[in-house]
């Protein structure tokens, strides 16, 4: 007897093709999101909000309604949508340039208001789409096109730790940082995103998941080297973990 072990999620377009670079982390996360929307049977009730950067082309991949937002403002667009349609499932998909750099004020205030939305932030520690410039989350010492000799703390300061700061906001129900460097990690990432989705479904508050993702093209590494870079270096600066989970007490 045959058993189906792998199928394309309904929430991904049948003729949609990811346009990311080889070894990029975006595709893995988009697939996780699509699988979860299928699992919760939310496809007919979901509005996804795209942002600016490599995270922009959601309507080319998702079999879902998509609203576009200006750079950094997708949590505001999501707020407007969710407040008008409280029974819909609303999430933003952003990068570190969008959610942690130009739009961090919006991220924080959306968290403080406890908006019933979910934000998935892909953190590849640089502006990928514009060619690999330093962002707010860039590691000290990281070589980018705007820090060709490595980020120097005395000149440009220190990386911003989004998931930890979001966790400090009273309106946040769930905040975690995950990686997608191994099968185990990918499963854990999916569970974290599931939790963040559930906090919205249960009306508990703002859900935030920061995903450490590879950017081999701009890091000038092979995909395998980029994975090692996250495991050996990035995770020492941006540690994995659940920084807030309001459901944790219930489970104890």
């Amino acid at each position: 007897m045959e058993t189906l072990v792998y199928k394309r999620p309904e929430s991904l377009l049948k003729d949609g093709h990811f346009t990311f670079c080889p070894g990029c982390g975006h595709g893995v996360v988009l697939r996780i999101i699509a699988e979860l929307i299928d699992e919760y049977n939310l496809q007919k009730d979901t509005i996804a909000i795209s942002s600016v950067g490599c995270s922009i082309f959601l309507e080319k991949f998702f079999n879902l309604d998509v609203a576009g937002a200006s750079h950094g403002r997708s949590p505001c667009v999501a707020t407007g949508i969710k407040r008008c349609k409280p029974d819909k499932f609303v999430f933003t998909y952003q990068g570190d340039g969008d959610a942690a750099t130009i739009g961090f004020n919006e991220t924080i205030h959306t968290a403080c208001r406890g908006e019933h939305i979910t934000t998935i932030m892909i953190n590849n520690t640089n502006f990928g789409m514009t060619g690999g410039q330093a962002s707010a989350t860039t590691l000290v010492g990281q070589v980018t096109t705007t820090t060709p000799h490595g980020r120097k703390a005395e000149l440009t300061g220190y990386p911003l730790h989004a998931a930890e700061i979001v966790a400090k906001c009273d309106g946040t129900a769930y905040s975690a940082r995950v990686a997608i460097t191994s099968t185990k990690c990918i499963r854990q990432a999916k569970e974290a995103i599931r939790k963040a989705f559930e906090t919205q479904i249960k009306g508990l508050g703002f859900g935030f998941v920061e995903v450490l993702a590879t950017c081999p093209t701009n890091w000038h590494m092979t995909p395998v080297e980029a994975v090692k870079q996250i495991e050996n270096v990035t995770e020492t600066v941006h540690p994995l973990g659940v920084f807030k989970d309001v459901t944790a007490k219930e489970q104890e």
């Binding site: 309604d65 200006s70 505001c76 008008c84």
Partner: protein
């Protein structure tokens, strides 16, 4: 229906609620803070949405979110706050997202001051945001007209899927006068054909402003500009007061328009043939109508509380039919009917002198023959 004595800002907020505005997103700024205060006091008790956003950037982008669901939403701000929203206006026009923006102008540039001014005409009409786009801009001159145009703003936003700006100034926002709040007179279009509500038994939809494939953005812009032509054809409104026999026509918008009306009345009493042409829609600008009025006039006097902004549109509309003069004050300086009357007298004298000169030249010519 009974009239009530009401402050301009509150009248706009009250009219928005009557027009069916379901959400208000804003950030406080003088001289329009009463709009947000009124909304904060009334929307929640109606079960509608009120949010004081973290910035004007956030508030206009929340309007975008509401607009993509086809919900009537608005924000309000003043000069420097409106400046922060320009990127979003451009995105709204491109993605065809409806929304209402109330701009209550204060003195500028910079933080300027909190006195009335009209120096954000360029800001409202000539961009700030990137690319080819137009807001529909409505200009009230009285509190009653602010009420009526607020109703109209919500209707036009949905009808054309374009942001609509109500461009008022601090004078109108802060003044009290009687106004009537009639029933919302428009029948709004069905939004279910385009609004986002989840791909339930239909293909997924998207409302975005990025169009990378070659030719796609140009084709979209061309289609949107065809829409603007339709707006110009069907929605252009203006007030023409005693312009039929006028030798001197005043042009003015908003509160300056009503002050100019008093100046016209004074000039008429003094025997001068003066009229007023007041655009009510600044975009679409009543270009043809002003051009026609100018055909029969000897001179246009444009009056504004700025250094000459609508002046460019007036000149373009008049297109050489007669000379165009400008008289204005800015950054909180006001024009009174008497100041306008003095300017009218000065210019009218010039017109008479010019007429005498013409006659003189004609007589000399005759003598030569």
């Amino acid at each position: 229906m009974a009239k009530e004595l009401v402050k301009g800002n509150e009248a706009i907020a009250k009219a928005a609620i009557k027009a069916g505005c379901q959400c208000y997103f804003g950030y406080p700024i003088t001289p329009q803070s009463e709009i947000g205060e009124y909304m904060g006091a009334h929307l929640p008790e109606l079960g509608r949405v009120f949010i004081t956003a973290e910035s004007e950037l956030a508030s206009i982008n929340m309007v975008i979110g509401a607009g993509t669901t086809g919900t009537k939403a608005m924000t309000s701000s003043s000069s420097c706050g409106i400046a922060l929203m320009q990127e979003a206006f451009s995105a709204m026009c491109c993605a065809e997202v409806p929304g209402v923006i109330v701009s209550v102008m204060r003195g500028g540039p910079g933080l300027g001051n909190i006195a009335p001014a009209q120096a954000d005409y360029f800001q409202a009409l000539k961009g700030g945001g990137n690319g080819d786009y137009h807001l529909i801009v409505l200009s009230p001159s009285t509190v009653q007209e602010a009420v009526d145009l607020t109703y109209r703003a919500f209707h036009l936003a949905l009808k054309y899927r374009n942001p609509v700006m109500l461009l008022a100034d601090g004078m109108l926002g802060q003044m009290m006068e009687p106004a009537e709040f009639g029933e919302y007179p428009y029948k709004d279009p069905d939004v279910t054909k385009w609004a986002l509500d989840g791909a339930n038994n239909r293909e997924p939809r998207n409302i975005v402003s990025l169009h990378m494939p070659e030719g796609e953005m140009e084709a979209l812009t061309n289609r949107i500009f065809e829409k603007y032509e339709q707006v110009a054809k069907e929605e252009t409104t203006y007030e023409s007061y005693m312009t039929g026999d006028a030798r001197l026509i005043l042009t003015a918008f908003g509160t300056v328009g009503r002050i100019a009306k008093s100046a016209v009345q004074k000039a008429r009493k003094a025997g001068m043939k003066v009229g007023l042409f007041r655009p009510i829609t600044l975009y679409p600008f009543p270009e043809k109508q002003l051009h026609e009025a100018a055909q029969h006039a000897d001179m246009i006097l444009d009056l504004e509380l700025n250094k000459g902004q609508m002046l460019l549109d007036v000149r373009s509309a008049v297109f050489g039919a007669c000379p165009v003069e400008f008289f204005g004050r800015t950054a909180g300086g006001l024009l009174t009917p008497d100041m306008m009357f003095e300017k009218i007298q000065e210019l009218y004298k010039k017109l008479d002198n010019r007429l005498e000169a013409k006659i003189e030249a004609g007589v000399k010519k005759l003598w030569k023959h």
